[in-house]
């Protein structure tokens, strides 16, 4: 502890990530089990049972940011997979062909859990892995969390029953009895980390904003794979203190001359986000948030562990009806005073992109903020057209400029 006090949040994040992957790498030698799981999933069950959760999606992000995806994808396209699949899946399956990875790879799974609150792709991707490693796959099925009250009660019941099934599966896998007290403890850490993480995201409501979405994305990883541990709690505490100290208290924004506070729909274009940040900053624009980064702002109640896991994971933004998802986004528009809207139609991710046109209609109608919808891929540069996207973003920012010019002169509401 004494040592970490001196550390910056960035250093701590690096250290935690390193320790986590090192631990995973040697898990099998130490007789520990490895479970692959999805970014949105009741990973608390794994931490409570001393099973190490590994997130192939996170690993894929690393491969994408190291610009390895085209090569990895081509290696599996030769085996018959299509380039239309999610770039995470393609990077991961490619890694298994070429054994290339910026961190020396991730260990093979003993067990897989796919939670479809996030998407259905993961089920199919994990099915491929389950056959490859002959490891059991547990599909944690979360039906669309439709608004109907009665349906919701039934859905929660179904999801809770699956948590008990999952616990049994873990007991079978490890031959060890599951400890519910330990689960409560883990959920308590998750609760604290989630609250702090959300608090961190909400710093974007300051004007000027001390953080952009790119900070949120970089700092999201810890809550994705370490929520449920005291390390995650410590990390977000440090991160908030630091941002308050260095930015908020001094009134320093993440960009000088902040003019446009943008919403971003969907996942980021991982391999481009620095370029996007710079391009936007040159116009006084900064992307502050998205529903995607908020997907980990959970609200756990450790006193009722099974129910709280069911409720939190079934109701993630990608699993609710479109109107409700639009309301979640509108809440961010309001709380963060957003005045621009970039909507990325991500060909990798049908789960989040599918109804983007309808989502735009609702948000535009309710906010009066024009939106730019553009199509590309979050991870595969072969589907990214630099000049086209740049031109469209520039044209959009010029529209915003015109709009604010008109508004200042009372030419528009």
């Amino acid at each position: 502890m004494g040592e970490t006090k001196q550390m910056t949040a960035k250093e701590l994040s690096k250290r935690l990530t390193k320790t986590y992957y090192e631990g995973a790498k040697h898990a099998h030698e130490q007789g520990k089990f490895i479970a692959y799981t999805t970014a949105v999933s009741p990973a608390e069950l794994f931490y409570a049972h001393d099973v190490i959760p590994i997130y192939p999606e996170n690993h894929s992000v690393m491969m994408i940011t190291h610009r390895m995806t085209a090569e990895l994808s081509e290696s599996i396209e030769r085996k018959g997979y299509t380039s239309h699949l999610c770039a995470y899946a393609r990077s991961d399956l490619g890694f298994r062909e070429l054994h290339k990875s910026p961190i020396g790879g991730i260990p093979d799974p003993d067990f897989l859990l796919a939670c479809n609150a996030q998407c259905f792709t993961l089920t199919k991707w994990f099915e491929v892995l389950s056959r490859r490693y002959d490891a059991p796959l547990f599909v944690f099925d979360t039906p669309q969390f439709i608004r109907d009250k009665k349906a919701r009660e039934e859905i929660i019941k179904y999801v809770m029953e699956q948590i008990y099934e999952m616990i049994e599966a873990l007991e079978r896998l490890t031959g060890k009895k599951f400890d519910f007290d330990r689960l409560r403890e883990v959920i308590e850490y998750s609760r604290q980390a989630s609250i702090l993480y959300k608090k961190y995201l909400d710093l974007a409501s300051y004007k000027p904003s001390p953080i952009s979405i790119f900070d949120a994305l970089i700092n999201m990883a810890i809550t994705v794979y370490l929520r449920g541990t005291p390390d995650a709690v410590e990390f977000y505490r440090l991160l908030i203190d630091e941002t308050m100290e260095n930015k908020v208290k001094k009134g320093i924004g993440v960009i000088p001359n902040e003019k446009y506070r943008l919403y971003w729909e969907n996942l980021p274009i991982w391999f481009k986000f620095r370029d996007h940040f710079n391009l936007l900053a040159s116009y006084g624009a900064v992307i502050l948030t998205s529903l995607y980064v908020h997907a980990w702002s959970y609200d756990f109640d450790p006193s009722d562990p099974v129910r709280t896991l069911a409720e939190n994971y079934a109701s993630v933004f990608s699993n609710v009806e479109l109107e409700e998802r639009a309301e979640m986004a509108l809440d961010l528009f309001k709380r963060y005073s957003l005045n621009g809207n970039l909507m990325f139609l991500n060909r990798s991710c049908k789960a989040v992109s599918f109804a983007v046109h309808e989502l735009r209609d609702i948000i535009t109608k309710k906010t009066g903020v024009p939106a730019l919808v553009f199509e590309s891929d979050m991870g595969d540069p072969r589907f990214y057209s630099e000049s086209q996207i740049r031109t469209r973003i520039e044209a959009y920012l010029e529209t915003l400029d015109q709009l604010s010019y008109d508004r200042e002169r009372g030419l528009r509401d």
């Binding site: 599996i76 085996k79 018959g80 997979y81 299509t82 239309h84 699949l85 899946a89 796919a114 479809n116 998407c119 259905f120 792709t121 089920t123 199919k124 991707w125 099915e127 491929v128 056959r131 796959l137 599909v139 099925d141 039906p143 669309q144 439709i146 009665k150 349906a151 039934e154 859905i155 019941k157 179904y158 029953e161 699956q162 099934e165 009806e321 479109l322 139609l345 060909r347 049908k350 789960a351 992109s353 599918f354 109804a355 983007v356 046109h357 309808e358 199509e375």
Partner: protein, 379 residues
């Protein structure tokens, strides 16, 4: 009605069911459409409504494109187009099943763009291997029943359900019988004709269909006949456009089995007898053969097709891949590998509702069928 007339009528309905459905509507039935995927038609029928499985359109995409990403599957695109553009007033309501990302999010688009008196999501369990799946299917079926009752204002019970079960079971039994006759005597009816009947089953009230199928079974040759054709098993979700079946007829192919959703999977599984009718529907759901988007036990998805190939003594497999069906996209590389390892001839055709006559598809099919004939000659 004569057998020929029956075939003609059912062919017409299979190509365009809307005049028939309009006539049902004139008789006071409300038309309830459901995209393909395990919605229990019996339940809708027992509510006094007219259930219809929506099987897309082969006509050009005009309106749906603006609502969907470019890589949305051909099935969802053509379903949305049908309802948005070509038949906007033909349905009174929808029961919308969700099995994959596409169906889940299409359901949202559908609700927002198509006005109807009734809309219910049917949230099928996307796993079948644990007790929770059964409990959930039961709960969801009960919820659908309540929604249907609220819509019609007429609660219905065991009697109505059992009547619908027995009507649908009877129609399925007759279809299986006809399939069986064709297996024994492939010349009895063409591949296209067989699948026309199955499509008609998706569209029709079994009360209207059963007498026609009876005429068929009475007038089809029952004796076994020698068959020179190569024998194939069809695999996938749906064969679209159905003209592909005509091509199989032209090429001298006998279909001896299939695992298609619009095929055997639709007609093979009857509702059993049970104390509780909703329990009976649940039991039937879990009897069904695997379905690509639903997580099944272990490798059952593949084992089932291998079993089918072996028991039917087929010469090869034709797999129909729907363009941009993500689910099949993930299944196919391993499936191809398995077949290659076992030296089972299989061809994968990329199909799209809007490309009715693709010369390339025909050429590939021709080459495949020729190779099957060739292999047979070489023993």
């Amino acid at each position: 009605m004569k057998k020929e007339d029956v075939l003609k009528t059912l062919h017409e309905i299979s190509m365009d069911p809307f005049p028939y459905l309009e006539s049902k509507r004139e008789k006071g039935f409300k038309i309830i459409g459901s995209p393909l995927a395990d919605v229990p038609s019996e339940l809708i029928h027992a509510a006094g409504l007219m259930p219809v499985t929506i099987l897309g359109t082969n006509r050009p995409i005009v309106k749906a494109g603006g609502h969907l990403p470019d890589n949305a599957c051909s099935l969802s695109r053509s379903n949305l187009e049908l309802v948005l553009n070509y038949q906007p007033r033909s349905f009174d309501g929808f029961v919308f099943p969700q099995v994959c990302d596409t169906t889940q999010h299409l359901s949202d688009i559908w609700k927002m763009t198509i006005s109807s008196e009734f809309f219910a999501s049917f949230l099928i369990p996307r796993q079948v291997d644990r007790p929770s799946a059964r409990h959930w299917f039961y709960a969801e079926t009960r919820r659908l029943k309540e929604q249907l009752e609220a819509y019609t204002g007429n609660p219905f019970g065991r009697e109505a359900l059992e009547e619908s079960f027995s009507l649908y079971n009877e129609a399925r039994r007759l279809l299986r019988k006809i399939y069986g006759i064709k297996r024994k005597n492939p010349a009895a009816l063409s591949n296209r004709q067989l699948f026309d009947l199955i499509r008609a089953f998706c569209y029709m009230d079994p009360r209207d269909l059963i007498p026609m199928l009876e005429t068929m079974t009475e007038n089809l040759p029952k004796e076994k006949a020698e068959d020179e054709n190569v024998r194939v098993v069809l695999s996938g979700i749906v064969v679209e456009p159905s003209q592909l079946l005509d091509i199989l007829d032209e090429l001298g192919v006998s279909i001896v089995g299939d695992d298609l959703t619009v095929g055997t999977r639709m007609i093979a599984y009857d509702v059993p007898e049970a104390e509780d009718p909703l329990e009976a529907l649940t039991a039937r759901h879990f009897d069904k053969s695997p379905f690509s988007p639903i997580r099944d036990v272990g490798t059952r998805l593949y084992d089932h097709l291998l079993g089918l190939f072996e028991t039917t003594g087929a010469d090869g497999i034709i797999f129909f891949h729907i363009k941009f069906c993500e689910s099949q996209d993930y299944d196919l590389p391993d499936l191809k590998h398995i077949m290659r390892e076992r030296r089972i001839p299989m061809i994968v055709l990329d199909t799209e509702y809007q490309s009715v006559t693709k010369a390339q598809t025909k050429t590939r099919l021709e080459a495949f069928i020729e190779s099957l004939y060739g292999e047979r000659e070489n023993g």
